[in-house]
Amino acid sequence: MQLFSCPFCGPRGESEFRFAGEFGNARPEGATVTDAQWSSYLHRRSNPKGRSAELWLHLTCGEVFRLDRDTLTHVVSGSYALGDCAEEVQP
C-alpha cells in the first residue's frame, strides 16, 4: 500500500486515489486544432521511467492535485494543490 499525500487530507493509502493523467498535458482548443494535435493531446504520453509529474484525484474528498513521484522506485517527492503555483514547480 503506497502512501500518497492529498494536499487537502494528508497522506492516505493508494487505493483512495485515482490516476488522472500526466501533468501539463495542455488541451488544444480553437478552430485550427489539427487531427494530429488533438490525437497527441488525447493519446500521446511521455510515460517517463523515473521522475514523473502526474495528476491524481483523491476519491474521498474530490481534490485533484499534482503528485511528483518516481515511477521506478515509487518514491513520492511532492504533492501540490492545483492553482497553488503548481506550474512553476519543476518535476
Binding site: 482548443e29 486544432v33 474530490g62 515509487h74
Partner: protein, 956 residues
C-alpha cells in the same frame, strides 16, 4: 528406527503426551512437539516423496528452510502443504502424507526414479511432441503437485487483518533481534519484535552461550522480561513475509486453536532485520537419503525436543559451527564421528571421533542412511548423517526492499550491501556468525535511528566459523542433490550450463532450482556456485535471482481477510430495501445497487408484464433513489455545465429540465441524463445510477483543471436524497391527493419542468421527467422521509390501481420508447451522431468536452453503428439480446451490429428490440438477418421508438 528421545533433554512437556495419525501410523509426542519432531522421535524416517523422482525424503531441517516435509492436515483445521517442521502437533490431529500413493511409505510412484537418467532438467521440452502434448499431459498433471485440496472442507470464511504503526519493527528474535529491540524500547521507541518460530531466543536456545555470565536461555528470559517492562510487543509464530512499497511490512501470524492465520500490515518508522542465516547442505552423492539432515537442525531437535538424530552419527562439515552438534550428540550418548573437510581446524574433539581434511563423497543405504563413503575411499557406518555446508544469510526481506547484495568471500555468502533508508541489519544476516560479532552489529543497526547500543554484552568466544567453502563440483559422481524439493542435481546444473541456460534466471527456470515452495532457501547458493564454476565466472558475477514475496508461503485466507461473501465488494442498498422486501420484491444487483427486479410471486416474465401493463394503464411507483443527484453551484456553474454537456445548457431556464449527453474527450457518450436549473447559479446533474461516482470524479477533474475552484462547487447529494417516480395516466390524480402545496396542472408544471413542494412539512422536489414515455413525476425527498412518502403513495394509489415497478419492467417501458441505457444500448465507441443527436455540434458555439473528436475522420465515417429499433419479421419470439446482425460480403459472413435490448412489449403485444447497426439510421425499413448461436432470424430496421411515437402520453 534411528532418532530417539534422550531422557531428560529438551523443552517439551513430557507430562502432556499427545497422539496423532500420520496416514495410518500412530505417532506419539509431547506438547511442544512439531509434527516433524514427533515423526522423528517416533522413527518415521520417510515423511515425503520428492516432486519429480518420488524419492523418499526425511526431515532435513528444523524450521522454514526444510524442503522435504510437506504434509496435508485433515483435522482439526484443514490445510494443504503444511510444513511439518513449523506446524505444532496436537492430540487427535490427522496428518496425511503427500505425493505418494497410497502414502509416502509405500509409494507406487517410486518406480519413476528408475527412469531418472532419461528425465534430466527440462526433459519435457525435448519430448512429448509427437503426436501431441495433449496425450501426455494428463498423466504428467496427475503426477505433479504435493498436497490435495479437500473440496468438502468447511473452512472459516474470514480471517483477521490488522494494521499497526510502530517506531521500530525488529524481525527475528535471536540474540541480535532481542538486543536491538530492547535498546530501541529503552530509548522510548514503540517496538514490535516478531519471530517466526514458536520460541524467542533463536540460536541461544540451541547453542551454548555465556552472555554477561549467564547462559543463553537465562539471558533470553531476562531480555523478554525487560522488553515487557518497556512495553515492547513480542509476537512469536509470526513471519514477516514481505516488504512492500513505502515501507509497508506484511506479517502472517499463525493461527491457533482453530483460529485462522491473520495478516498484519505494519508501518514501521524503522525496520531492523535480524533474520539470521540458514544452513546449506553439503554436496555429495545421495545427500537426499532419509537420515541426512542439517547439523544445526540436529542440534535444535536435541535442545528443543530432546531428540537425538541417530545412534551412530556422522557429522560432516566445512566450518566450525557443526562441532557443537557433534559434542552435544556425543554427550547424549550417541556414537559420533565428525568429518571436517578442513585440514586443521585446531579443535580438540570432546567425546567424538574426528577426521580432518576428509569429505563425504556419498551417503550409502537403501531408502535410508546406512553409512558414508569418504574421499579417501574409506567407509563409515552411520544411521544418520548431519551436515553443514555453511550458512546463508537470510537476506530475502532486504532484497525485497531493493537492497543490493555483496559477496563476502570470508563468510562465503552474499551479505547485504549496507543499510537502506528506514532499514538496517543486525546479526547473522550481516554475515556475523559469532556472538560477539552479532552483538557488535546491533550497534551499527541502531545508529540510523539515533539509538545507542550502549555497552555490549560480554560473551565467551565460541568455535570460529572459519568456513572453507565446499561448493558442488562439476563431474561429481552419483546423484548429488542441490534442490531437494524440486529434485535438481549437479548433473541438471551441468546440463543447463552445457545448453547455455547460464543466466541465473535461466538456470532457475530451466532446472526449476529454487522454484518450489521453499524458494530454494537451502539450495540456491549451491546452484549458483556450481554454475559459476561451470562457466568460469565468479559467484557474484552469476548473481542471485530476484527475491519475491512471500518469504514463506502465506495462506490465501490471510490475504483475503474479511473480504468474503457480503463483505466482498458489498452491494449498495436502498433506504427502502425492507419496504421492497415486504412488498415481495425479488432483489438483484444493478450497477452495484441491490434493487427490486420485480415484485410478487410467479414467473419473472409474468410479473414484469403485469407491472409494465399496469404502468401503462394506471400508475406505477418506482424507487429510483440511486439516480445521480450531483449539485453544481457557484457563479461559474452555467459555464461549467455548458462545457461538460454536449447539449447547450447555459440557456436552460430556471425551473426547467433538459436532457443531455455527457461525452468523454474521445467524443464517446459517457453518460446521459437530465439537468435541472434550480437558480441562476445552481444546477442538479441527474446521471445514471451506476455512474454517479464516475461522473462525480469526471466533473471534479474538469472543475479543478479548468474553472475557478473558488467560484464553482460540486456536491453529490445522491446518498441523502431518495427519488420516487410516479408514472402513468393516473399519476397526476394520485399525486393530487397528497397535497404537496404546489400546482400540478400542465400549465404550471409542464413536461420538463420542476417545482418545489412539501410532504408533511418536508421539502420535496417534483420534476416532470419521464423514462417510461408516460406522464411521470419524479419526487425527490430526504432519504429519511422516503419510507413515509412511499407508504402514503402506495396507500393512496390503491384506489388508482397502483403497482410498484421493478427495474425489469422499467427496462421494458423505456425500450418501447427507444430510450437508451448508456453502456447497454451504447458501447465504448458510440458517438452522439450514432444516437441521432447532431444539433449541438452544429449549433453550439462554445467549447465542450469531446468536441474536437466529433469532427475526426472516424466520426465522419458513413458506416458507423447507429441506434435503431428492430421489428421482428418472423414470428412472436423476441430476439436474443447479444444476437448480431449479419450480412455476407465477398462470400464471407460479417457482423453489422447487434441487438442491445430485446423484450416482449406488453403494450404492443409483440417483441421489440433496440440495436446498434451499421448505417442503421439510413436503413429504416430494410430487413436484415439476425444470428444467435448459429440460428437465423429476420428483423426489420425501424426507428428506435416503437410506442407512442408522437409522445402524446407524456401529457396523457
Amino acid at each position: 528406527m534411528t532418532a530417539f528421545r534422550v531422557e531428560g533433554a529438551g523443552r517439551i512437556d513430557r507430562a502432556r503426551p499427545l497422539l496423532f495419525h500420520f496416514d495410518d501410523v500412530e505417532v506419539r509426542g509431547f506438547a511442544g512437539d512439531t509434527i516433524a519432531s514427533a515423526l522423528l522421535a517416533s522413527g518415521v524416517n520417510v515423511v515425503g516423496r520428492s516432486f519429480k523422482y518420488h524419492r523418499p525424503r526425511g526431515v532435513w531441517g528444523f524450521g522454514v528452510e526444510d524442503p522435504n516435509s510437506l504434509v496435508d492436515i485433515a483435522a482439526p483445521v484443514v490445510g494443504a502443504n503444511a510444513q511439518a517442521t513449523t506446524t505444532l502437533a496436537f492430540d487427535g490431529m490427522r496428518v496425511k502424507s503427500v505425493n505418494g500413493r497410497p502414502n509416502v511409505a509405500r509409494d507406487r510412484g517410486r518406480f519413476i526414479d528408475l527412469f531418472a537418467r532419461f528425465m534430466p532438467a527440462g526433459f519435457y521440452y525435448k519430448t512429448f511432441m509427437f503426436p501431441n502434448w495433449h496425450l501426455f499431459e494428463p498423466s504428467v498433471r496427475a503426477m505433479s503437485g504435493f498436497g490435495r485440496v479437500d473440496a468438502d472442507a468447511e473452512l472459516p470464511r474470514s480471517a483477521e487483518q490488522i494494521n499497526r504503526a510502530v517506531d521500530v519493527l525488529v524481525v527475528g528474535a535471536g540474540p541480535a533481534g532481542l538486543l536491538a529491540a530492547l535498546r530501541a524500547a529503552e530509548a522510548g521507541r514503540s517496538v514490535l519484535l516478531v519471530e517466526q518460530g514458536g520460541t524467542v531466543g533463536g540460536s541461544l536456545l540451541v547453542r551454548t552461550a555465556a552472555i554477561d555470565g549467564r547462559d543463553g536461555v537465562t539471558w533470553t528470559a531476562e531480555m523478554l522480561q525487560r522488553l515487557a517492562e518497556r512495553g515492547a510487543t513480542v509476537m512469536t509464530r509470526t513471519t514477516a513475509f514481505g516488504v512492500y512499497d513505502h515501507g509497508l511490512v506484511a506479517l502472517n501470524e499463525k493461527g491457533q486453536g482453530g483460529r485462522p492465520d491473520r495478516l498484519w500490515r505494519i508501518r514501521p518508522g524503522h525496520v531492523v532485520l535480524a533474520t539470521g542465516a540458514i544452513e546449506r547442505p553439503l554436496p555429495f552423492a545421495n545427500n537426499d537419503l532419509p537420515g541426512v539432515r542439517s547439523a544445526e537442525a540436529a542440534l535444535a531437535y536435541l535442545r528443543h525436543h530432546g531428540i537425538a538424530t541417530g545412534r551412530k552419527v556422522v557429522v560432516a562439515t566445512n566450518n566450525g559451527l557443526a562441532y557443537e552438534t557433534a559434542e552435544a550428540l556425543a554427550a547424549a550418548g550417541v556414537d559420533v564421528t565428525l568429518v571436517d573437510s578442513r585440514r586443521d581446524a585446531g579443535i580438540v574433539p570432546k567425546g567424538y571421533g574426528l577426521l580432518t581434511g576428509r569429505s563425504v563423497v556419498a551417503a550409502e543405504g537403501r531408502g535410508e542412511v546406512a553409512g558414508v563413503r569418504l574421499d579417501d575411499g574409506s567407509r563409515l557406518v552411520a544411521d544418520s548423517v548431519v551436515v553443514s555446508g555453511g550458512f546463508t544469510p537470510t537476506v530475502h526481506l532486504y532484497c525485497q526492499a531493493r537492497g543490493k547484495l555483496v559477496w563476502d568471500a570470508v563468510a562465503a555468502a552474499f551479505v547485504p550491501g549496507g543499510p537502506l533508508a528506514g532499514l538496517s541489519l543486525a546479526g547473522a544476516v550481516t554475515g556475523a556468525f559469532d556472538l560477539a560479532g552479532v552483538f557488535a552489529s546491533v550497534g551499527t543497526a541502531l545508529q540510523p535511528i539515533g539509538v545507542a547500543a550502549g555497552a555490549l554484552p560480554a560473551v565467551a568466544a565460541g568455535q570460529p566459523y572459519a568456513i572453507a567453502a565446499a561448493w558442488p563440483k562439476p563431474g561429481a559422481e552419483g546423484r548429488v542433490f542441490i534442490d531437494l524439493q524440486h529434485d535438481v542435481t549437479v548433473k541438471d546444473v551441468e546440463l543447463a550450463a552445457r545448453e547455455n541456460y547460464t543466466s541465473v534466471e535461466h538456470l532457475k527456470r530451466y532446472t526449476a532450482l529454487g522454484m518450489a515452495g521453499d524458494q530454494g532457501k537451502t539450495s540456491n547458493l549451491n546452484g549458483i556456485a556450481l554454475m559459476a564454476e561451470l562457466t568460469g565466472r565468479t559467484i557474484p558475477e552469476v548473481g542471485t535471482t530476484t527475491y519475491r514475496p512471500p518469504f514463506t508461503p502465506v495462506p490465501l485466507s490471510s490475504l483475503a481477510g474479511w473480504r468474503s461473501g457480503g463483505l466482498f465488494n458489498p452491494p449498495r442498498r436502498l433506504v427502502l430495501e425492507n419496504v421492497h422486501r415486504d412488498a415481495g420484491a425479488s432483489l438483484r444487483e444493478y450497477g452495484g445497487w441491490l434493487r427490486p427486479a420485480f415484485y410478487g410471486d410467479g414467473p419473472e416474465v409474468e410479473a414484469v408484464a403485469r407491472e409494465a401493463r399496469r404502468a401503462r394503464e394506471a400508475v406505477a411507483l418506482f424507487d429510483g433513489s440511486p439516480l445521480g443527484k450531483i449539485e453544481v453551484c457557484g457563479p461559474e456553474a452555467a459555464a461549467f455545465v455548458d462545457f461538460v454537456y454536449y447539449n447547450a445548457m447555459a440557456t436552460l431556464p430556471v425551473g426547467r429540465c433538459r436532457y443531455g449527453l455527457m461525452l468523454a474527450e474521445s467524443g464517446v457518450v459517457f453518460d446521459d441524463g437530465v439537468l435541472m436549473r434550480l437558480d441562476a447559479n445552481r444546477f442538479v446533474v441527474s446521471c445514471s445510477s451506476s455512474h454517479v461516482a464516475a461522473v462525480q470524479a469526471h466533473l471534479e477533474a474538469w472543475r479543478q483543471d479548468r474553472f475557478d475552484r473558488k467560484r464553482l462547487f460540486i456536491h453529490n447529494a445522491t446518498p441523502a436524497l431518495a427519488t420516487l417516480t410516479l408514472s402513468g395516466p393516473q399519476a397526476r390524480p394520485l399525486l393530487e391527493t397528497l397535497d404537496l402545496g404546489l400546482a400540478l396542472d400542465d400549465a404550471a408544471l409542464p413536461h420538463m419542468a420542476f417545482a418545489s413542494g412539501a410532504f408533511d412539512g418536508v421539502p420535496v422536489r417534483v420534476s416532470r421527467v419521464s423514462f417510461t414515455g408516460d406522464r411521470s413525476y419524479e419526487l425527490v425527498i430526504g432519504s429519511d422521509r422516503a419510507e413515509a412518502l412511499w407508504t402514503r403513495l402506495m396507500a393512496a394509489g390503491a384506489a388508482f390501481g397502483i403497482t410498484p415497478l421493478g427495474t425489469e419492467a422499467l427496462m421494458v417501458l423505456r425500450a418501447e420508447k427507444g430510450y437508451i441505457v448508456i453502456g447497454k444500448d451504447s458501447d465504448g465507441l458510440t458517438l452522439p451522431v450514432d444516437l441521432g443527436v447532431t444539433a449541438p455540434l452544429r449549433r453550439k458555439k462554445g467549447e465542450f468536452i469531446g468536441r474536437r473528436s466529433l469532427v475526426s475522420p472516424e466520426a465522419q465515417r458513413p458506416d458507423r453503428k447507429q441506434l435503431v429499433g428492430l421489428v421482428v419479421e418472423d414470428g412472436e419470439a423476441p430476439l436474443v439480446t447479444g444476437a448480431h446482425g449479419v450480412e455476407t460480403r465477398d462470400g464471407a459472413k460479417r457482423s453489422i451490429g447487434y441487438v442491445t435490448s430485446s423484450y416482449v412489449s406488453p403494450g404492443l403485444g409483440r417483441p421489440i428490440a433496440l440495436g446498434l447497426i451499421e448505417r442503421g439510421a439510413s436503413r429504416h425499413g430494410e430487413v436484415i438477418d439476425i444470428q444467435h448461436q448459429r440460428t437465423m432470424r429476420q428483423a426489420r430496421i425501424a426507428a428506435p421508438c416503437a410506442f407512442d411515437p408522437a409522445g402524446e402520453r407524456l401529457n396523457g
